[in-house]
Symmetry: C2
């Protein structure tokens, strides 16, 4: 019973318990599929990296710059996740790299089944690294294992340095944090990379953190070195 | 059966149907509560506006600037939604306006029950406009009616002009689209407001679209006029 207005609408959904059970079941099924994807990657000697961020934080631009930097040295493939459009996969293919677009419709994240389906369209022969660009969303993707080896969370400078405090699930799940669009720091007077680091440590995260600009190329080297070491 | 590897994991979750049924039930319960919230607002003569955007697109900064512009003329209250922290509510209270923070934990959106709970902590007497700042997420919040009168979607210039095409559910739900952080346009060579408009129209949206900068105050007037007209 609502004390404000005397209505008899319960203040939590009546079917809350049931939905929790179904969610648990879905996550169990997802984890099972993710473990299977991981075996797939391992058998093919493929390193799988899951890129997650807010919309427009520069995941595709990072991939474009990374592909250019590794050209001829490292075999790369990409799985792109978006609600709609094939735009990102087309940008990747324009760099000469195979890319499969997953259109999630209204779903806010990739799951292990979607990635498994995309693997059917990818020849992993000769691939060293598979980048999975998740749906732009700083909440939901963090809860779904895709079978990746590493999670990388991007935080673009215009979003503000408080995001690890406000989106802790994502930043706790990150094995590496990339501060992107560092070229905009000259015009942003309210973004302090030191604060990002401080908020990260408050989450008990020991993930390394690099600043870079895919646009200017500044700061790409530590990221590329991290990828190469992860691959080794 | 998976054709790639011969495993017997189904390619869609076995319990997909059940989860759809539960989701439908949750949305029905949400809609019921939202209708009740709407009656609440109507009885108190309160206009409720739901602000939605990606993380860091400037929802709180817009509210700060709006509160300053309406100071002494319009009674404003704010409900803030975040996974964690009381930061945004504190920023609003510092402007002399009542604000209730909803901490969603790991939930990626506000729902009508959460808003109803927050209303118990708000005295709507003397309030003309209630702004509800949703969780920063360009996907999930669009699917949950809170009882608001209007949905406003913010798109910040650094996110890129293609977002209506990639996040159609959000932009179809928007009654008004605000392009925020217009002060950054001088350093962004790849954002064209005309393209945002074109993508919006492709979604058959006739929502008006304004560009503004809460930081410099440029472009605030059409937004303030829209709010005043909505309130009338």
């Amino acid at each position: 019973m609502c004390g404000t207005c005397g209505c008899n609408i319960p203040q939590t959904a009546a079917d809350g318990h049931e939905s929790v059970e179904v969610l648990t079941g879905l996550l169990d099924a997802n984890d099972h599929q993710a473990a299977h994807n991981r075996e797939h990657f391992s058998e093919h000697g493929v390193l799988a990296i899951n890129l997650m961020s807010s919309p427009g934080a520069g995941k595709t631009a990072l991939l474009e710059a990374t592909i250019e930097a590794f050209a001829g040295r490292v075999g790369i493939a990409v799985i792109e996740g978006d609600l709609e459009t094939e735009n990102d996969a087309e940008r990747i293919r324009a760099k000469g790299v195979p890319a499969v677009q997953i259109s999630t419709g209204s779903a806010c994240h990739l799951d292990a089944h979607m990635v498994h389906g995309a693997l059917h369209e990818l020849d992993l022969q000769g691939i060293d690294i598979l980048f999975i660009e998740n749906v732009g969303n700083l909440v939901c993707p963090a809860s779904f294992d895709l079978g990746q080896n590493f999670n990388v969370a991007l935080l673009s400078t215009p979003e503000g340095h408080d995001k690890p405090a406000k989106y802790p699930v994502m930043f706790r799940a990150a094995d590496l944090v990339l501060i992107t669009k560092s070229d905009l720091l000259v015009v942003l007077d309210d973004f302090d990379p030191g604060e990002v680091s401080r908020y990260l440590r408050q989450l008990a995260s020991s993930a390394p953190m690099f600043e870079l600009s895919a646009k200017t190329g500044d700061g790409m080297q530590p990221w590329l070195a991290w990828v190469e070491e992860a691959k080794a």
